[in-house]
Symmetry: C2
Subunit: 478 residues, 2 copies
């Protein structure tokens, strides 16, 4: 009873307190929990099952594009971290330092990896000698640590899980192609698998990764109008190759530097799933990533024949979808709430009356629409519903994003929108860092990206009035 | 040419220098490499692909037995590690301490997890309230750190990858059943998947896990006669439950402590694969774990028709096995050596003469036997060969183990064998720690386990002459 009560409690509504709504979902859908380790979370079975589905799909796509998995040490000696200057400047202030091993102080302290460029570079320098050794297309699944001041489950945690791809190539052209290839891979993963529409673009110099020549990004818009960087792909050019002396002998017999990329996606994306699709009844999971796609709830299960029929249906459905059945002695209403909270895409109800009518009831999580489906059409209707739900989640998310995307042509308009209308702001920019910083001062709004799909709003930078170079997406971000 | 030369070099022979033979295989089969991080290794694509196959199979078996994956923080605050006294005594001397975050010293230092009992206990205490919440059957894939003085790739590294299962149960009986269930799961995984025969048994009190009531183990024998602990399963009883106050309300309304288990298998097992199956030409991989099961080498591939035919065969074989083809311009002989070094179970050669004869050549890695196989029997012969290779590797390993297992009935015999014949020694023991320690002094030989399958060698402990309680396996261990 204790536990039932806990579940029937409603969560905070999104409009009332978005941050609390988010935290409520994380806890009540049992995605993650806090621990006594500051800023670190416990990822619970349901949350981890979502991550496993993300991993499985991404890993498959990485392998299809020729990438291989490796594992590097989790520690970086300070002298190794210091080798690339921009990189260490960006990361040193936010790393955890190991200074003691067993009972002895270390002669050189090591940080827990915040990202592994330096380790990969050291390894590449050892294994790459000739043009025959190129490219090396590596990926690593691991956890990394960044000493964040304020943390929130999935969105910003001191430790998080991710994958980091690291590749080396013979030419600048190839490394640029790889950087864009992986950005596109992430984009289609977000859209086709997670039903999250994304804007593809390039980060400004101010916002790019520490040590990169160019950082490309995917920007998604959350329900509350804040942006979230869903994945990034960096082209390092030969920056790191020079710092780590990664050279190869080319066909012409000359020693040349390699060109390098890295790209990553993290458990943060689970935060995006929550904030793009969720509603006031809880999580709404896109079908492809949902650990359970169909939950079967037998109604009046004590009546003879109901459980048998439900089991028979489960055996059929498990061939086409990830299905579970709840035969606990809780009330159906309680169960409906629980699986809505957990965002299961389809609920299948089957009771004595349904059996009489030779039908089942299917209920969509996203729209709550109810369908009475003849027994012999269960599989085909579930298949088409899963497909419909994905598309409709994507379209809804895109409509909300478009609705919350504003176009402005001068600083007054920018200020007005930035202060009152959460969302993306499209505005022209001259390309100068000074203007970018001034615009940020207006309302804490940073440049999200220079989108690949440029639009011409006006000829002038909204800040300095000089000739504009780019149309930029601005916004507040997680 | 540079690289070809490197590969044709033979490796050190096993009899000449076993340790060097092992290191040569690790490096030349490109399983792992050293890094500038003391005691940590880089797991290269081929080594990691082996680990991925191990993970995939174990994970499937864990899920089939009702276990769910979770992820706990990688840090443990010192006060949390200190909660269970035996546990902290065992692990504190060998952990890495984080004392600084960013630019600030921590008020409480944290260790990088050497194992995660304490974190799981803290979490269980929060989420377990009633008998309805039990059992919780959790598993975690992660890396852990132990500050080892001397390290060797896979066998003993400061950081290693593993899985750690942690479960809580309502009764002592259930936790004991779980402990044995997981030991059996590991045993059949070792035997059916890795072709490694194992002895199942219990650790003596001296050798058990810090904080456990009972530790069960799988002991495997390496080529050089040294033992390796392939997996362990611990029953904690209510030790940790009391230290962490993990209680639940039972059906009778009373508050009771839970009973807990943990069990683990690590990248160490890759060391066992090398040392149980390898030979003087390199790695020998059991087919089920091999990243590539069949390597196709086209012979005289410049001659018209050869590559077409080879591709046609590859398309057929990829439906039944993990297959790769090497069409590089290296000499076939070089390729034969390389894939022998890498332990690929079957080599398929196809050249102009084979095409004429409507056949291919299959060569087993383990016995080097050569078979001329008609084109229309390729699939069936590969299937049966893969099966044969597995069985024959298992039988060979078992024969070597049996040959190197000695039965002794007094201390003189023990000393004689321990000093001259590397292997397992079976001998009777009274159960007293004092005798166990004296036996260890004889020749650095420790108790490996009290096997489940007991034999009666004599009535007396070989050390003190008093009544023997157990027949014990003794040996030197990795």
């Amino acid at each position: 009873m204790e536990k039932e009560k806990k579940f029937v409690e409603a969560i905070t509504s999104m409009d009332e307190d978005f941050a609390q709504w988010y935290t409520d979902i994380v806890k009540k859908a049992e995605l993650a929990d806090y621990s006594s380790v500051r800023g670190c979370m416990v990822i619970r079975p349901y949350g981890y099952a979502i991550w496993e589905n993300i991993q499985k799909e991404l890993d498959k796509r990485f392998k299809e594009t020729g990438h291989e998995n490796v594992y590097m040490p989790m520690f970086i000696p300070e002298s190794l971290l210091n080798k690339e200057k921009e990189h260490v400047k960006g990361f040193a202030p936010e790393v955890a330092w190991v200074t003691q091993g067993g009972n002895e102080p270390l002669t050189e302290r090591m940080c827990v990896r915040p990202t592994s460029e330096t380790l990969f570079c050291e390894h590449f320098a050892k294994i790459v000698q000739s043009y025959n050794d190129l490219p090396k297309l590596y990926n690593q699944w691991c956890s990394v640590v960044r000493w964040e001041k304020t943390t929130r489950p999935f969105l910003r945690t001191m430790e998080f899980l991710w994958q980091e791809g690291h590749t080396v190539h013979a030419t600048a052209k190839e490394s640029e192609e790889e950087t864009i290839r992986m950005l596109n891979l992430y984009a289609s993963f977000c859209e086709d698998f997670l039903a999250i529409p994304v804007i593809k673009g390039q980060k400004t110099d101010k916002e790019k990764f520490a040590g990169a020549k160019a950082t490309y990004t995917l920007e998604a818009l959350m329900h509350d109008g804040k942006a979230l960087q869903a994945g990034t792909s960096h082209n390092f050019g030969d920056n790191f190759a020079k710092a780590f002396n990664i050279q190869y002998t080319d066909k012409d017999g000359k020693l040349k530097y390699v060109y390098e990329t890295s790209w990553g996606m993290s458990t943060r994306i689970i935060g995006a799933i929550i904030m793009v699709h969720g509603d006031d009844s809880g999580l709404v999971l896109p079908p492809k990533v949902a650990p359970t796609q169909v939950i079967i709830i037998p109604v009046s299960q004590h009546i003879e024949g109901v459980l048998d029929k439900a089991n028979e249906i489960k055996d059929r459905v498990c061939k086409i979808a990830r299905v579970k059945m709840d035969t606990s002695d809780k009330m159906p209403g309680w169960k409906y709430n629980e699986y809505e909270m957990k965002g299961v895409p389809i609920r299948l109800e089957i009771g004595p009356r349904d059996i009489q009518k030779n039908q089942v009831v299917l209920v969509r999580r996203d729209t709550r629409e109810k369908y009475f489906v003849p027994m012999d059409q269960i599989e085909s209707r579930i298949n088409s519903l899963l497909c419909d739900i994905h598309n409709s989640l994507y379209n809804k998310a895109k409509a909300i994003r478009d609705e919350k995307t504003y176009t402005v042509s001068n600083m007054d308009e920018f200020k007005e929108v930035a202060e009152n209308k959460p969302g993306f702001i499209k505005a022209m920019w001259c390309g100068d860092r000074e203007c970018e910083e001034k615009i940020k001062e207006v309302a804490g709004t940073t440049s999200r990206c220079i989108p690949f799909e440029q639009e011409h709003i006006s000829d002038k930078c909204i800040c300095c009035g000089k000739e504009a170079k780019y149309m930029v997406y601005w916004g507040k971000a997680y």
